[in-house]
């Protein structure tokens, strides 16, 4: 830090730098929050008010807008919410459970194809899903699974990146001895995994469950190609539908409420879990 002689000058400079930093940070904060602020304000105003002009003060029509949206037959919003919630929850559960299982298998056991399996997963990790979507659509058409939820849920069992996270975590928390001790106590390998290893992995499971849920909730590309009927639509598909509808004829209050429904639930969850989530982003990288 600054010497005592250089004292005042250096200190003034430091304060100046700090002020600049805060100004820039506040600018970025506004940039991040501004659009959401407009969203929330406009979702509380009636269509006629929105058309008239913009104010920074929220209106009183939030519930009116919301009820209108629910009553709108073309946009089965509650149904879509239910669908999205169902798909995302199941996906989060399957992804975390089976990734943990795969990680456990590769961490504890030594078998011939172990190194190959590990390198293989590492190698395929970055292949984007879009490039095999054509074959995927053909496959599920043949299986008769088009316009069902199965193709959106089952494939999440094979999630290379989540596996990798679990593997990193296991390698740092689970010594071989624990599994051996369980064996001595007569535990079957599968039981060992379920009743001893899974509880140890709770933090990793939670972080990945959150991320998987969010990813699935926001997913648009594949569901848009798979889902067809009105009752099976998820939230992102409804958003796209809203965009392709004749926008100008729309009740803007409903448009904003609709976007709110897609964004706000996750925002609330995020606000509660943000510390946890941000730590989760770097969990692997800061831990030795």
């Amino acid at each position: 830090m600054s010497n005592k002689e250089a004292g005042t000058g250096a200190k003034a400079l430091l304060t100046f730098t700090r002020v600049l930093c805060y100004i820039f940070l506040i600018f970025l904060t506004i940039l991040c929050l501004f659009s959401f602020y407009i969203l929330i304000v406009n979702s509380t105003r009636a269509n006629s008010e929105i058309q008239k002009g913009f104010t920074l003060i929220p209106g009183k029509s939030f519930l009116t807008n919301f009820n209108k949206l629910i009553a709108n037959d073309n946009i089965p919003i509650l149904r879509a919410l239910g669908n999205s919630l169902f798909i995302s929850t199941l996906t989060a559960m399957l992804t975390t459970y089976f990734s943990a299982m795969t990680a456990f298998g590769l961490h504890i056991y030594n078998f011939k194809l172990k190194k190959f399996a590990f390198s293989f997963i590492l190698l395929i990790m970055m292949v984007p899903t879009q490039v095999s979507t054509l074959g995927f659509i053909q496959l599920i058409t043949k299986m008769g699974l088009m316009d069902t939820f199965y193709p959106l849920i089952i494939p999440s069992i094979a999630a290379p990146i989540v596996f990798f996270f679990m593997f990193q975590y296991l390698a740092s928390v689970l010594p071989q001895e624990i599994v051996e001790a369980a064996r001595v106590d007569g535990s079957n390998e599968f039981n060992t995994f379920n009743s001893i290893v899974l509880p140890i992995m709770k933090p990793a499971l939670a972080v990945q469950a959150i991320f998987s849920f969010v990813t699935s909730w926001n997913n648009y590309f594949v569901p848009a190609l798979v889902i067809d009927s009105k009752n099976n639509k998820t939230i992102p598909i409804l958003i796209a539908q809203l965009r392709s509808a004749d926008y100008m004829k729309f009740d803007l209050g409903q448009v904003y409420i609709m976007i709110c429904v897609a964004i706000i639930p996750l925002l609330i969850v995020y606000l509660f879990l943000s510390k946890f989530i941000i730590r989760g982003v770097t969990l692997g990288s800061v831990k030795g």
Binding site: T91, T95, L122, V131, P155, A158, I263
Partner: protein, 352 residues
């Protein structure tokens, strides 16, 4: 955000924790390659296959077979005109030739690249700046938790909804135009979405907003992984803060920066949700915001499977090349230090 298997959205970026800072994380490959001491009578190794079976089964059925069949499809003429089905008929490389004979694919690749670069440059610069500030011992910024929470937030927002929000905000009679008019900046509303620059700029802005927080946190982890003794030594030698940044932080952050750039590129190639919703799938104005995946989506939706296959294969190879670099970085990072013979690892060995 993690890419969790098929049926999941494009991973715009690989998550931060994939990249372990050099201080730790040598144990993976070591662990994987190490011969464990011979176990007693019972052989448990077969359980290993059982535990990894579901993953590989599902992967094979829902990802590997579809990938192979996508390649296969790219050699066939197979599309629909109205109700009439043409093909499938083997045509060799005709789809690929068709792909390059008109300007579509190169144009869309260029569009994708322009929008990615426009978003990525501010993203990496701002992220680097914030990461240095947040980790600086001298600045000791307050309210870090708040700022981190805010800048990471857009990353979790549904891209489709975020894009729809921007569409409504920037529409001809939307709030932004209203604000501009009431401030007297313009009399007639700007028609943002009819202007190439503005539309591309909006896509880039959204990508920037959605990813700079994530990158900041990743780079912060990288900086915190640097040996603090190095900073101290530099300080004792009288280094100024910009010298510290360019001579100490930046060189040591280089591997993680390469990782960030390449994974961001892979994410960039997959750009879809934002421009798709913003332009209603049209790539308006005049196809200047049409990305490669939007083009693929168009063929998939119209069941033009031959061309969709060819585009897929093209995108596959583009990402494969980049992915291979990431794979090399990851593996190099996880190999036990003793395997290397260069100087860097020697110092590492001494340290350990």
């Amino acid at each position: 955000m993690p890419l969790t298997g098929r049926g999941f959205p494009p991973c715009q970026r690989l998550p931060a924790w994939l990249f372990k800072s050099n201080t730790g994380g040598e144990y993976y490959m070591e662990h994987i390659t190490a011969k464990s001491p011979k176990r007693k009578s019972v052989n448990y190794s077969r359980w290993g296959y059982l535990f990894i079976a579901p993953f590989f089964l599902v992967f094979t059925v829902f990802q590997f077979i579809p990938l192979v069949s996508t390649f296969y499809n790219s050699f066939f003429q197979n599309y629909r005109v109205g109700l009439m089905q043409i093909g499938p008929k083997f045509v060799g490389l005709a789809n690929y030739i068709a792909l390059f004979s008109n300007a579509d694919v190169p144009t869309y690749a260029l569009n994708t690249m322009i929008m990615w670069v426009l978003g990525f440059i501010p993203q990496i610069l701002v992220a680097l700046l914030l990461a240095v500030w947040f980790t600086s011992f001298r600045l000791k910024l307050k309210g870090q938790v708040f700022f981190k929470t805010v800048i990471y937030m857009p990353n979790l927002i549904m891209a489709a909804a975020f894009s729809m929000l921007f569409f409504t905000l920037f529409s001809d009679s939307g709030p932004v135009n209203m604000i501009l008019q009431s401030l007297g900046i313009t009399d007639t509303p700007y028609r943002f979405l009819t202007m190439t620059g503005a539309t591309r700029g909006l896509v880039a802005t959204m990508n920037f907003l959605m990813w700079f927080g994530n990158t900041t946190i990743l780079l912060m982890a990288g900086i915190m992984g640097i040996d603090p003794n190095l900073f101290e030594a530099a300080q004792i030698d009288g280094a100024k803060s910009h010298q510290m940044f360019f001579r100490v932080t930046l060189p040591l952050l280089l591997p993680i920066l390469v990782y960030v750039v390449i994974t961001a590129m892979i994410g960039g190639i997959q750009m879809f949700d934002v421009p798709q919703i913003l332009t209603n799938g049209g790539g308006t104005p005049n196809n200047t915001t049409m990305t490669l995946i939007m083009y693929l989506n168009k063929h998939l939706a119209s069941k033009n499977y031959g061309m969709a296959g060819a585009v897929s294969v093209l995108i596959f190879f583009a990402t494969a090349i980049l992915s291979f670099i990431v794979y090399k970085i990851l593996v190099a990072n996880y190999k036990p230090a003793s395997r290397h013979k260069d100087e860097k690892s020697k110092t590492k060995k001494v340290k350990v």
